[in-house]
Amino acid sequence: MAMLKVDDINVYYGAIHALKGISVEVNQGEIVTLIGANGAGKSTTLRTISGLLKPKTGQIMFEGKNIAGMAAQNIVKLGISQVPEGRRVFAHMSVLENLDLGAYLRSDTKEIKADMDMVFGRFPRLAERRGQLAGTLSGGEQQMLAMGRALMSRPRILLLDEPSMGLAPLLVKEIFSIVKDINETGTTILLVEQNAHMALSIANKAYVLETGRVILSGDAKELAASEEIRKAYLGG
């Protein structure tokens, strides 16, 4: 059984029909990616899973439980953590305070401390800047902080929304290798990306979205090799 099963959801922004019956399945331990152009509904899908948006119809099953329409904080409690588009770190707070907020629902002080050390081990640059205000970090560092913050809730599945946005190619590579690392230590990942090439290179499975619908899905390697995808999303 899939860990996360988005089943035929329809989401509206007022009168705009943003998601027209999207279905996505993520199995435990996988990296699954949603690719597609701007406005295809990738972020909307993630935001609906996180509970920031409520689907009008359809189900979202997480480990056998329907979470569609649940309050966002209860979804985090179940083990779904999102790294939002544009990082959205708390700019006026220190790196440490941001990580503390990531562990907001936990009270196991010792374990939180251990997880913070784990985050600092994974992102040594954050360790150096732990007392600094998040707003003064570079884009790449903010992305790392947003990821570290999400990991502090000990998610079972991590939702990543455009982690490569606005970053230099070298940093993009670094971020993706960290994503792969996080996955290898047991966290399932649902990744939204415009950088289809990078996303397909680390994913097991991919869904291609276009104007609120899934138009293609399948094995990431196969999609990366397909003529249609190469033309539309990989620049030839």
Partner: protein, 298 residues
């Protein structure tokens, strides 16, 4: 007027201004916190201060509470009322256009004012004397024990508030929600609970101001919140709306300016000067003295 009596007079108005200003600051803190968290100018906030004064009045006259228990009772009662108002009047409109919730706030304000008249009668009441008034004379300047109590209580409350906001988990959650509500939700923060808590704290501070004013001026009435509410709003804007130190600074400055205007010019112009400050600030530095650049959410 020779120069030494001028200095004494100035010092005297400074003392009066700081005690008046700390009242404004306590009310302004609630304005600024509530604005910070849901971007609402809560026009009913001045009336919460009135409710707090009445809660203190009944605590001392009916239940025979002494000063500190009456203050705590009043803060708790107003805190609960503030939370109920948020739950009943504002929460259903959270995603409605801003103007709807603003008009609702004016409605709540009128409801408290005229509902208050119905409940406790429009007649002003004499606030009981809670402790013996002593007058201290320092080099010609007069300071009484009420002013000392106002100053000590306000300072203490501001220190506690600063600690809660900066050091506690709930305070961190408040700052997170205020900065980016959605990102806060993604941390697992229950935004409704944080907003409710903010209304509770803000209302409790206004209630403390109400009790302190009752002690100072001895007289309370159901419309007593209108003017101080507006003045505290000016103070919050002056300091930079959304900023806690700004509210404290703005309140103090406004109090001092008002006292100086009353002392050296005429108390007739006191209110005019206060609102002239609002206009000048809005023209010259709309973000306020300690305000950050306003970043509208898109």
């Amino acid at each position: 007027m020779d120069s030494s009596s001028l200095i004494v007079q100035f010092g005297q108005q400074l003392i009066n201004g700081i005690s008046l200003g700390s009242i404004y600051a306590l009310i302004a803190l609630g304005y600024t916190m509530i604005y910070g968290i849901i971007r609402l100018i809560n026009f009913a906030h001045g009336d919460i201060y009135m409710v707090g004064a009445y809660a203190g009045f009944f605590a001392t006259t009916m239940f025979k509470f002494s000063f500190i228990p009456a203050l705590i009772f009043s803060m708790a009662a107003a805190g609960v009322i503030g939370m109920v108002i948020e739950r009943v009047a504002y929460r259903p409109l959270r995603n409605a256009p801003k103007i709807a919730i603003l008009i609702t706030a004016i409605g709540v304000s009128l409801f408290l004012e005229y509902g208050g008249m119905l409940l406790v009668s429009p007649q002003p009441r004499t606030f009981p004397v809670l402790f013996e008034s002593e007058v201290y004379n320092i080099g010609g300047m007069v300071i009484n024990s009420q002013q000392v109590v106002i100053l000590v209580v306000s300072l203490l409350l501001m220190v506690i508030l600063t600690y809660v906001v900066n050091k506690t988990k709930m305070g961190k959650a408040m700052r997170a929600v205020s900065f980016d509500t959605e990102a806060a939700q993604l941390m697992g923060i229950d935004v409704d609970k944080v907003i409710s808590f903010t209304f509770g704290i803000g209302s409790a501070l206004a209630a403390a101001a109400g009790v302190l004013v009752g002690i100072y001026y001895n007289s309370i009435d159901p419309l007593m919140g209108i003017m101080p509410g507006l003045k505290a709003f000016v103070a919050a804007v002056l300091g930079g709306i959304g900023s806690l130190p700004g509210a404290m600074l703005g309140g103090t400055i406004l109090g001092i300016i008002e006292a100086l205007v009353s002392g050296f010019w005429s108390s007739t112009f006191r209110d005019a000067v206060a609102f002239a400050i609002l206009i000048i600030i809005l023209l010259w530095k709309p973000a306020g003295l300690l305000g950050k650049n306003i970043r509208e959410k898109v």
